[in-house]
């Protein structure tokens, strides 16, 4: 286990630079930010503050949309999802800490569509690690990591943010 190997501040800066470039290229001016509980929310809040975005942050808890309910049952402490805005025809920027299998993102997109029909959804992640099980890719990536199936990376936070490797 180590937390020293990567400079989290640098990864966040890289992610923000790429995000700004991506939004420019895509002509997206007022994206709605939605963070996935819990690590994704910390990253989303950080981005919201540094980019000076005024609209509130959406919080998504995908526990009710997970594909492993029949294997592990109901998640013990589910904080409700909250999207304090109308997503109809808006550009959504979905933010998570670590993109791994892609199953969380699939669940998150399913949930978002139960709130309405957005104009688009883009995905921004702090860490894109190997091990995808679904055809999902991120539009914006802070850092790419090649990890074995037995290796894990986790974001600790919210203050300070740090990466933990196991």
């Amino acid at each position: 286990m180590s937390t020293e190997k990567h400079n989290i501040d640098q990864i966040l800066v890289d992610m923000q630079d790429r995000l700004c470039a991506f939004l420019d290229e895509s002509d997206i001016t007022e994206p709605l930010l939605i963070g996935i509980h819990t690590g994704g929310l910390w990253v989303a809040e950080h981005i919201r503050q540094t980019l000076g975005i005024n609209s509130p942050l959406g919080e998504l808890n995908i526990a009710f949309y997970r594909d492993d309910f029949s294997r592990i049952g109901i998640h013990p402490h589910v904080t409700p999802s909250s999207l304090p805005f109308d997503i109809e025809d808006r550009h959504i920027l979905l933010i998570d800490d670590v993109l791994h299998t892609g199953r969380t993102i699939r669940a998150a997109m399913n949930e978002i569509f139960d709130y309405g029909r957005p104009a688009s959804i883009s995905l921004a992640v702090l860490i894109d690690r190997s091990g995808r099980e679904l055809p999902i890719h991120a539009n914006v990536i802070g850092k790419r990591l090649e990890l074995k199936a037995t290796e894990h990376v986790k974001l600790l936070g919210p203050e300070p943010l740090a990466l933990e490797f196991k």
Binding site: N61, A63, F64, Y65, F69, S70, R71, I72, G73, I74, P76, H77, V78, T79, P80, S81, S82, N110, E111, F113, D114, Y115, G116
Partner: protein
């Protein structure tokens, strides 16, 4: 003990929901917390989550019911389960089929959960004991015994208005004797650690030794309501009137009906609850039932979230079963 253990799996998770009696405070709080998450689902464009997709839930009602059955049905549908409503008055039971046979027939159709309402106390326990291990049972009211989901709806409604149970004085008023809701509420309230639970009723409408449940008994409505935070009115079961337990409805209303005047004995911010259906002018004055202290309609809306929580928790405990088998 057997009655309580049957509700839990080996990991202490909720398997069947038959009664609030004997469940831990943490488990009751889990139900309330999960329900809190499900409330937000009802406010969205698509009021559904895919949690119980592919699951079949049977509403098995041996007694007529409108609001309980419809909220169970809505709850199951919002969890994406398939729902079957079986009204036994119109089914084989009236042709002489036994409860056991009815169950076996339904089980053969591979249903995953039965929501049972029955006129006999203990019916839900009986069914839970006799179904195959993968089938879940929720008690939607059995005789005079228990109505645990209604009790949890009321706990949820109380907590939304008065979050600290330990400071509360709560009065349950009316026909305690015949009320399964009252019994389930008393167990839930004492487990959640409220300051004081009172029951207010004429002697003829109180069960024997009701004090042993940990409640204070009052026969005078005004005295009983003094300083309370929550008033739970119970429906006067008019059919009981014939058994000469009460002189007349008018006299009952005079002594035990909740009016503006009686409400003044309670705290200024006390809330008024009623599990429904209401007999206006018998146990509660119409102005109170529709007044600003009344949270009766909130109780109905909370019914869906509580029932979603209980169904999801019971079905979720199957996860372990499949692991044990594999």
């Amino acid at each position: 003990m057997t009655l309580n253990n049957i509700q839990l799996d080996n990991n202490g998770r909720l398997k069947h929901f038959l009664t609030t009696e004997g469940l831990s405070k943490n488990l009751l709080l889990d139900i309330l917390n999960h329900a809190e998450s499900f409330v937000s689902v009802g406010n969205r464009a698509v009021k559904k989550v895919p949690l119980l997709r592919g699951t079949t839930i049977v509403n098995l009602f041996f007694e007529p019911s409108t609001r309980t059955r419809t909220t169970f049905e809505l709850a199951a549908k919002r969890l994406s389960a398939d729902v079957l409503n079986i009204n036994i008055a119109q089914s084989s039971a009236s042709k002489g089929e036994s409860l056991q046979d009815t169950l076996q027939t339904l089980e053969a159709m591979h249903c995953d959960m039965f929501v049972v309402r029955h006129g006999s106390s203990g019916a839900a326990h009986f069914i839970a004991k006799n179904v195959s291990p993968g089938t879940r049972i929720i008690n939607a009211g059995d005789g005079n015994h228990a109505h645990p989901t209604q009790a949890m709806i009321d706990m949820f409604t109380i907590r939304r208005h008065k979050p600290d149970f330990s400071s509360l004085k709560i009065a349950i008023v009316g026909d305690i004797l015949h009320s399964r809701v009252a019994r389930s509420e008393i167990h839930a309230l004492t487990t959640l650690g409220v300051n004081e639970v009172r029951v207010i009723a004429p002697r003829t409408l109180l069960p024997a030794q009701v004090e042993t449940l940990g409640v204070h008994v009052f026969h005078d409505l005004g005295k009983g309501l003094e300083d309370v935070d929550v008033i739970i009115m119970l429906r006067l079961q008019r059919e009981r009137m014939r058994s000469a337990l009460l002189p007349s409805e008018l006299e009952y209303f005079y002594s035990y009906g909740l009016t503006e005047e009686k409400l003044r004995f309670a705290k200024d911010d006390a809330i008024v609850m009623h599990p429904g259906p209401i007999n206006r002018g018998v146990e509660i004055d119409t102005q109170i039932a529709d007044g600003k202290r009344s949270v009766i309609l909130q109780q109905v809306s909370h019914g869906i979230a509580i029932r979603m929580a209980v169904m999801a928790m019971c079905m979720g405990s199957l996860a372990e079963l499949s692991e044990e088998q594999s």
